[in-house]
Symmetry: C2
DNA sequence: CTTGACCTTACCATGATGGGAAGGTCTATC
DNA sequence: GATAGACCTTCCCATCATGGTAAGGTCAAG
């Protein structure tokens, strides 16, 4: 299987497969006489694992740890759960930040009449000129 | 006012002030005879505007547009509101994605006993091996 | 044999920020 | 004055994960 076929089979672009190899996330595959990378079912399985992990927002580093645990037959699932739990916390922190931004912005948009008058509470807020934005 | 003082006064690092100048977000300030950048109250005001905008998650590009509107006395607030509304949508999309990740992860963590047994539903999910076929 | 699809490596770009080196300048203290 | 240390300057590099492109090699079908 060539890299393009492995890419199609795994959903990971050829570009990223080479990158993952370069940074040591996956092992270099064998090569044909003409230096083409050759992949088999196992490699595709690993690539799919990586793709799923990335889709769930795990970083490459976290993915690397999960991959090692996956390939370690004697692993304890507690480690895996710790990584996942930590990641959940990080995601929730990020969500809270974004929600805070959205809350502020919605308030500002609500206060903005959005017509042709130059007055604009959104800009006033950004500028820090505390011209009281009258609330809902 | 030197760049360090402008940084302290605005909350934007000196490094970023130079960067903003380099990419054309802010105008090059005047210089002393010894080539030091010189800032005044107006510049600090602009920098604070930028900082607030970035804090609210606007990109540099969006910030640039908002800044232009802020400095345009004849602007219509509708444009500003459109930018803000678009940004809210983008943030909400991002939040939904993150929440979806969190939901999946919480479910997996909940299913994971987290003890020393090698069996782990989190890894099974990542691998796509849906239970019965154990041992990859 | 040619064409086109594929592969290889290598370099550059992103977005926003930080780090650091090498060298010049200012200010306070001795 | 001299000197120390805090500041400034430009320039380069690193991040993180991904995409693009270019120059060149390989393969399969017509």
């Amino acid at each position: 299987m060539n890299i393009g076929q492995a890419a199609d089979a795994s959903g990971v672009s050829a570009k990223m497969i080479r990158y993952y190899e370069q940074i040591g996330l996956i092992r270099p595959p064998s090569r044909t006489g003409s230096n083409y990378r050759v992949y088999g079912g196992d490699e595709v399985h690993v690539l799919r694992f990586i793709r799923r992990s990335r889709t769930l927002g795990f970083s490459i580093e976290e993915t690397s740890a999960l991959l090692a645990l996956w390939q370690d037959k004697t692993r304890a699932s507690g480690e895996v759960r710790d990584i996942a739990s930590g990641h959940i916390s990080a995601l929730e922190t990020k969500i809270a930040e974004l929600e805070s931004m959205v809350g502020t912005l919605k308030h500002l948009v609500h206060c903005c009449h959005g017509d042709n008058r130059p007055d604009c509470p959104i800009l006033d807020d950004l500028a820090g000129t505390h011209s009281k934005t009258k609330g809902h």
